[in-house]
Symmetry: C2
Amino acid sequence: MAETRPGDTRERILDAAERLFMAHGYEGTSMRQITSEAQVNLAAVNYHFGSKESLMQEVFRRRLDWLNEERLRVLRALKAEAEGRPLKPSQIVDGFFGTLLRMGSDERRGGMTFLRLLGRTLTEPSEFIRAFLAHEYQEVTDCYKEELFRALPDVPKAEIVWRFHFMLGATAFAIAGTDELRLVTDWQIEADDATDRLDRLLPRLMSFLLGGLRAPLPQFRDAAGDGR
Amino acid sequence: MAETRPGDTRERILDAAERLFMAHGYEGTSMRQITSEAQVNLAAVNYHFGSKESLMQEVFRRRLDWLNEERLRVLRALKAEAEGRPLKPSQIVDGFFGTLLRMGSDERRGGMTFLRLLGRTLTEPSEFIRAFLAHEYQEVTDCYKEELFRALPDVPKAEIVWRFHFMLGATAFAIAGTDELRLVTDWQIEADDATDRLDRLLPRLMSFLLGGLRAPLPQFRDAAGDGR
DNA sequence: CGTTAGTTCATACGTTCGTTTGAATCATAG
DNA sequence: CTATGATTCAAACGAACGTATGAACTAACG
């Protein structure tokens, strides 16, 4: 067993693939781009990962395994503190989406690069990627959904599921295009680093998500008027 | 000038491309798939559109030109009815996002196929696509943003822009994955046609968007508690 | 030391990609 | 009818794709 410098080539490939998949998508990134950026031989990907598909899965597994565990940790802590009483919706939303967004400040977990990759991949067309992500996400997502059911006993479960879906969409889009707000506005954002951007995004997104989650149910079609 | 049957081959290509781009993405769809599905010769795309990129742009332009006009029509009608007074946020949100979603029921405008394509493409990695969409969208989007500024004079414009972005994300995700709610839940949705799905989606999304838009501003980090 | 197992390397395989070409086909105008 | 210009067609182009191969290299073990 030689094991020259274990995890050196592998990690370099994963880092390069993460960056390139984020920038150009799965189909738009070639093995030659990846191995060139990682400064390893072309055959290294197939040697270490078997195929491009397996590489893609490993890129996500490396980050999502930690995210899943962290989310469960946070949820357990919240439930322990609540001592049997239902959690507040704001706690649940922050536990699920806040934990995700705070990943963007942690360079050891992929930082903004992975965050943006994940946001984009949730609407990725490739069949196997969506299937893989659904499988990786299902368990923890169900735990948080259950907690939302408990926190909002008067809201039909189906409505909560819809709104969870909407929250996921707003979050995915927000992290996928953070530095391309130009798509929706020409409002100039000062060029600062990703962490600062996250600091401004997080509280705003949280209040938006909570506002949407707690909006009046669409029974008779907005009888209340506008308000503000 | 011969002009055999004008717009027959062209339309068939556009229809096939729309379907395939929706299902497999831009990079994941080949010219041979497109021409095969459209039952036209391989060279027909380059003859009629010049390149794959130009075809993609034409696929969107065919639908977005109408959407932009319709959105402006709706906005003008609302403003005429209001006679100078600011519009209600619910009117603006319905004018912008409701008009988009109702496109999904209109088979002549691409129906759900184009709607899902558009939702996915908003997070598409390809550079030229985002640039093109931003250009096509900018003008009308700015009009609606201006109207939101007027409707919510006490809310800082920057906050409105952020929330407009969040609303766009929730909408894009909702229409991109309508029949793949499984990503976030195993809740079974009965298999019905796209229009029925839209009927259930539209009021729910609208109330969510309005709830998010009118949520309390994130000043001191959610001092109000949860409520429901 | 030599052996061995793990890793890297240059190179090539077969396929598919977007695009181009020039001849064949078609409908109309003169 | 022939002539004309737009369209369709089969075929091919070079380039890039993901993957496979077998030899070279490296470091620890017996």
